[in-house]
Amino acid sequence: MAKVLMKGNEAIALAAIKGGCDAFFGYPITPQNEIPEYLSKYMNEHGKVFVQAESEVAAINMVYGAAGAGARVMTSSSSPGIALKQEGITYIAGAKLPCVIVSVMRGGPGLGSIQPSQSDYNQATRGGGNGDYHVICFAPETIQETIDTMKEAFDIADYYRNPVMVLVDGLIGQMMESVDFDRPIKQRFLPPKDWAASGTKNHPGRNVINSLYLEPKDLEEHTLGLHKKYQSVIQNETRYEMINMEDPDYVIVAYGTMSRVARSAIEMLEKKKLKVGIIRPISLWPFPKQAFKEIGPNCKGILVSEMSLGQMLQDVQIANKGRLPIAFYGRVGGYVPEPEELYDAILNFKKWEVLD
């Protein structure tokens, strides 16, 4: 397939198909509606499953059921819709099931707006579900990267038997780019799903999908098992990009759309004879803490920029361990900071410094 021009949401849908998605369950919400719209046409025509559920809660529980039966399954939603899915997500994580969740962030809190935001970083990386669990979360910055991530997400979910979230803001969902769907992804060995509750034909006895462990001994053992798995995710799936990071004067930390703004800003700063690098987290959980150890000795500070009032900021503070001064610049309400704003924030670093 040659290059085509795709809208972010459509590309997510087509990439899911290319990634081997068997079933989609969702409920409409702006600004991600092109995902279910696209899949509604395709899935039924190709003998796969598409259900527009009666609610987000129903949709995520359908995902739970289909994942338990061994299907490669996904749902998509936006901020308040993802909030509604949290209970189902912790059940899925607790039952060690794979699924892909796409979150296209809009304004919040509450109904907020339909304009883009990054104010669901905490929702994605901390989650609203109960218990000791994690959702593996990737935040691509271009539509091409979103496609590659989506295709791989199903394999990562299957490999770790854990929910994987692909997190973008509404701008990536709605914008257009020319993209290629045939880029190769990492090949992984995926064992057969002999744990799936899909009948007893291929194995003796009965498989049970469950997240209830009443005996302390059993629940501790189960949770420690999850914990061990998460350590391996941290070790193997942490992703980030270092841009212009050879001995920078300042470092901007930004993900998704904001890292694109930062790329323009550092070009402007270059003309001012300031060397500014970018740490771009691609996996938000696991957060790439090790990137911060690589910041050179002459760096004067870290500027975190988000389309929120400072959520990833906390992860940067943890990773920085008090070493460098940290400043924060963010916009909310649907505004995307312009490169000029980041340029000014670096030049007036003290003004935006976070004092805690």
């Binding site: 795709m6 702006t30 323009s264 995307v336």
Partner: protein
Amino acid sequence: MKRITFIVGHYGSGKSEVAVNLAIQKKVDYLLDLDIVNPYFRTRELTQMLKEKNIEMISTTPLNGQYGDLPYLSKDVFLPLIKKDCQAIYDLGGNDAGAIILRQFSEHIDESVDVLLVVNVFREQTQSIDAIIKQIRSIESACGIPITGLINNSHLLKETVKADLVHGDALVKEVSKQLHLPIVYTAIHANLYDPSFEVSGEALVLKLYLRKSWL
């Protein structure tokens, strides 16, 4: 250019950028944003800029604001159709879902009206002649009005090369031949435009107004 131009087409075919460029270059009196499908990149975001160019923007009511998510149109959208001494461009939403609202204008459709379909052969759903014709038929049946011409807007954004324009021209020409529809404009981004390049219909040199410069 006719007094009234309705711009229809596939999602993301470039209707809004084409509509804004046409409105500015042809110095029309009104630009109407009838997009009730798409939540972002709508022409109404340019209200102020267009006002400075003496083009009045008509979209939703002030109460709804610019960023509403309601499938609602102000009655003001009938103004250019009733007021005969003005020129207007109507920018509709994508696909049949966006074009369906044209039905309410059926009694105003006459010789002074063009319904132009924007096509980009690099959009994933409109890459072949058959797919484009299918799209045209589905839009026509939704809006109940025949399409009167084509606007070729084939491109891959920054990655467009001249060979892409040639490919787009060849495909849209074939659609034009099969459906007996004229190619009224060929849109080309200003960075790629070369006056020596022969295009079908009138060349419409595009400046992108809705896309952020850093994208």
